[in-house]
């Protein structure tokens, strides 16, 4: 079976940290074979094949051989839409429209045609409250008539029309405004999935989420179709005879849930070809399991440190930066950032699966960021001390802490419970801050439980009892951070409000930014300004990893790989054990 002499003939030698993104198996795939995949989770999967009704990330992955809950668009490694998938999308900036053209041979797995109506049905599922979806977002209100439909003021969605009829293959979506992010997947301005209207139209809306037609006997559009769905546990896939694209090599795929307690043992016993969603803390055990090659990929993820600077005015939907705190001084914010030893923490605890962040845009968006952005990734205590000195914070030698106008520089750190290392890491930062004379104590003397933390941070107008906290976000394929840091952004936990940053953010989404060089420059300026002003301080980027059995051929974690399920195969009927 496979060996380690991979990538020598590779044309695509993508790397994420020290990891290969794709496995270049020198062996050839056999005809047929059964691929066994597991998703690591301690909760049962919630099979829900209709994207607007599903919010289970586990199932999001487990549904991908069937077409990923019927996704329509192919994208490249930079998350931009490309032609050639189930549908093409064209954006018309002057007319403020998008035209979505389904491929002529796009069919459901029962052989029926995928129609324009099926695309509109996804909006119905999302916007009609009768279906109980929780996927409605502000961005969708940018489609003409959709918020009226959502509010029950309109019976139809005026902004979605079918130039060649409901049963045709073309859909026109009318927007109120166009933004440059619209050509990136996950932008949220329009939906990217279809749902089989004819198959589902007779199911009562309130029953749809639990109907067998959307849970165990779905129609799909992908290369495989589910032959058997065991509620909560597993899915068996067989090739979908009506798939429009390249026929899959495999005879079948089984996709199961494996609990965290068992996953490493399952890998050692060669039970699975690969396991998704392995934890960073398991990496040390996983990396030496015989018969597996560990692949890695940059995550769409950023973790960061927030400073509490204001509150959220609910009536005006805007952040007001009015809190009385030493953190209003830029020097103090910067100093706290420079005092953190992020690189040392990552080196010690992340097993190479996290890297210090130089800016707020992860490096996977290479078209929008640059390693040249200067951040806080290296500890610099001298600089931190100098910043505080300049700002008039004098060290009181008897206490070891700095003071100004008789007041000690003392802050509260609302650190969250995460994994087993969370407390150690929080205490370590507190020690680093002590080195520059800043007294930091944990919120109520301990870490915050996650749900309490979410409540505390997201309930407007925000509270005055913390100064520093950590946050982390999963990002979509459209990296604009309006939703995180604009003046109106409700999840701007620290509630800073700076016209310059607002201008930077608006620039990223301006019409000028339709030019990609301009947009990249705008993104870099935004990150530099954010680092300079230090309202938040980027902490780390993450890498996820997947151990892949060496019998697997054609496995890749490349975000731009669109035909993986057709191309993936195995080189032997038996798992590789060496």
């Amino acid at each position: 079976c496979g060996s380690n002499q991979n990538s020598s003939t590779s044309t695509k030698k993508l790397k994420a940290g020290n990891f290969d993104v794709a496995y270049q198996n020198p062996d050839k795939a056999i005809k047929g074979g059964n691929l066994k995949i597991a998703y690591q989770s301690d909760s049962p999967m919630k099979a829900e094949w209709l994207a607007p009704l599903s919010d289970d990330a586990t199932f999001g992955s487990m549904s991908s051989p069937g077409g990923g809950q019927d996704g329509l668009f192919f994208t490249n490694s930079s998350f931009k839409y490309i032609n050639g998938g189930p549908a093409n999308v064209s954006l018309y900036k002057d007319a403020k429209t998008a035209t979505i053209t389904l491929r002529k041979d796009l069919k459901w797995s029962d052989g029926s045609e995928v129609t324009a109506k099926d695309y509109e049905f996804s909006y119905d599922l999302t916007a009609n409250p009768a279906y109980g979806s929780d996927r409605w977002t502000d961005s969708l209100a940018n489609i003409v008539g959709l918020s009226d439909y959502h509010a029950g003021k309109a019976k139809t969605i005026s902004g979605i029309t079918f130039p060649d009829g409901e049963n045709g293959k073309v859909i026109k979506v009318q927007f109120k405004e166009m933004t440059p992010g619209m050509n990136q997947t996950g932008n949220g301005y329009f939906l990217e999935t279809v749902a089989p209207y004819q198959y589902l139209k007779d199911v009562a809306p309130k029953d749809l989420a639990s109907s067998p037609k959307s849970t165990t006997k779905p129609l799909v559009t992908g290369p495989f179709k589910p032959e058997n769905v065991v509620a909560g546990e597993s899915i068996k896939y067989v090739p979908n005879p009506y798939y429009w694209g390249e026929k899959p090599k495999l005879n079948s795929i089984t996709y199961e849930i494996v609990s965290t307690a068992k996953s490493v043992a399952a890998l050692s016993a060669h039970k699975y070809d690969y396991i998704n969603d392995m934890r960073a803390s398991q990496y040390k055990q996983v990396k030496d399991v015989k018969g597996y090659k560990v692949l890695g990929q940059q995550e769409l993820y950023i973790s960061l440190m927030y400073y509490n600077l204001g509150h959220y005015d609910v009536k005006k939907s805007i952040s007001v930066q009015d809190r009385k705190t030493p953190l209003q001084d830029q020097n103090v914010r910067e100093a706290l950032g420079y005092a953190r030893n992020v690189a040392a923490v990552q080196a010690k605890f992340s097993n190479g699966l996290a890297t210090p962040a130089n800016g707020l845009i992860p490096p996977i968006f290479k078209e929008f960021t640059s390693p040249s952005v200067k951040g806080y990734e290296k500890q610099d205590l001298d600089k931190a001390n100098k910043l505080l000195d300049e700002d008039g914070w004098k060290l009181n030698k008897s206490t070891g802490y700095r003071e100004k106008d008789g007041k000690e520089l003392s802050l509260v750190y609302a650190a969250r419970v995460g994994d087993a290392n969370s407390e150690t890491i929080a205490q370590n930062y507190i020690q680093q801050w002590k080195k520059i004379g800043v007294k930091v104590s944990l919120y109520h003397g301990k870490l915050m439980e996650f749900n309490s933390w979410v409540d505390h941070m997201t309930t407007p107008p925000g509270s005055d009892d913390w100064d520093i906290t950590d946050g982390a976000w999963s990002l979509s394929g459209e990296p604009s951070q309006q939703d995180l840091f604009s003046a109106a952004a409700p999840y701007n936990f620290g509630h800073f409000n700076d016209p310059e940053i607002t201008k930077d953010l608006n620039d990223i989404d301006s019409t000028k930014a339709e030019d990609s060089t301009y947009r990249k420059a705008a993104f870099i300026k935004y990150q530099e300004d954010m680092n300079k002003k230090a309202y938040v301080v980027p902490t780390a980027y993450a890498i996820n990893y997947t151990p892949v059995n060496k019998r697997v051929v054609g496995m890749t974690l490349d975000y731009g790989a669109m035909n993986t399920w057709s191309e993936i195969g195995v080189s032997s009927d038996k798992m590789a054990t060496k």
């Binding site: 989420a209 309490s452 979410v454 999963s474």
Partner: protein, 319 residues
């Protein structure tokens, strides 16, 4: 006796009522709610607010409670926030899994524990006794999940004899293959529960036998020349079974209690696993229903135990 049983059943109503108030109140005290986990950069907080409002989470807790009670009386325990299915439907599906696995484990537990206790008691102080005492001390003293992992590792991964998770293979289709696949999937968790769950029965039964062996009626029987085997089978064993019988009502209702550790580790979607995921997801409607179900089973178990005792022990009458 019937009067008493009916009275006891009627008494359950206020007991469950008080339990439901407590559960409802304490569930609301937990930080977060079913929608806390929904936020993402693109989530509209107004939408989350609207979902919370629609679910009535901003009403005073007693108002929410009365609404829930009104529905519950009509047999509607609400929708699961996280699974978007009626609570009763979800519990129904999971209960079937839990019931069959528990039944198998109970049968196996008795099959292991009873002979074990008899052998130990008959050989009091000898190596057989020491062996089973030690065995039960170990299985009682070490957290069961350690053993479950060990069993999975040995029988699932090393020897490859049994599946290690789930209730049925995705390859099984058709009634008969599914039936056998379900049994096959049940064996390992049920066996683990049984092998490491003998201590209760063993302790009661062994000491019951030892106690009865020294009773006057046994001495009398011996003096009358009754054969030792007959004394043991007819007299000692029957009387020593009483403590076990007194617990049997709980065993029956416990079939639906759900084994939290075993179900989570084996990835066996039953009521125990549902309980844990509901708590971590703040699925209020599900938590309330499950705790009430367990409360009801507890009360029913006590009643059944009393009835069983009255049936097997002529000295006891329910009054």
């Amino acid at each position: 006796m019937w009067k008493v049983i009916i009275r006891r059943i009627l008494l359950m109503i206020p007991q469950l009522f008080i339990l439901s108030i407590l559960v409802f109140f304490f569930a609301k005290l937990m930080p977060g709610d079913p929608f806390s986990g929904l936020i993402g950069p693109h989530t509209d907080p107004h939408e989350v607010e609207a979902l919370r409002r629609a679910a009535g989470l901003y009403d005073p807790w007693w108002e929410q409670y009365l609404r829930w009670l009104g529905n519950a009386i009509h047999g509607n325990l609400g929708m699961s926030y996280n699974l978007k299915e009626p609570v009763m439907t979800v519990i129904g599906h999971r209960a079937i899994n839990t019931f069959w696995m528990s039944l198998l484990s109970v049968i196996l537990t008795y099959l292991f524990a009873i002979p074990m206790s008899i052998v130990a008691a008959r050989n009091e102080g000898k190596w057989q006794d020491q062996l089973w005492l030690t065995y039960n001390s170990i299985t009682f003293g070490i957290p069961p999940y350690v053993f479950y992992l060990l069993i999975i590792f040995i029988f699932g991964y090393s020897l490859n004899w049994f599946p290690t998770g789930g209730t049925v293979s995705p390859d099984a289709m058709g009634i008969i293959p599914v039936f056998f696949s379900k049994i096959y999937h049940m064996i390992l968790p049920a066996f683990s529960l049984a092998v490491f769950g003998t201590v209760g029965i063993f302790t009661y039964f062994r000491s019951g036998i030892l106690d009865e062996q020294t009773q006057d009626y046994v001495r009398t029987a011996r003096a009358k020349g009754v054969k030792e085997k007959v004394i043991f089978r007819r007299h000692i064993l029957r009387n020593a079974s009483l403590p076990i019988a007194s617990n049997f009502g709980f065993v029956i209702t416990g079939l639906l209690g759900g084994a939290i550790f075993a179900e989570t580790i084996f990835g066996y979607p039953g009521l125990g696993q549902l309980f844990i995921t509901s708590i971590s997801g703040r699925d209020y409607s599900m938590i309330t229903a499950l705790i009430l179900l367990n409360g009801f089973l507890g009360l029913l178990g006590a009643l059944l135990s009393d009835i069983i005792m009255a049936m097997v022990d002529p000295r006891i009458r329910i009054q």
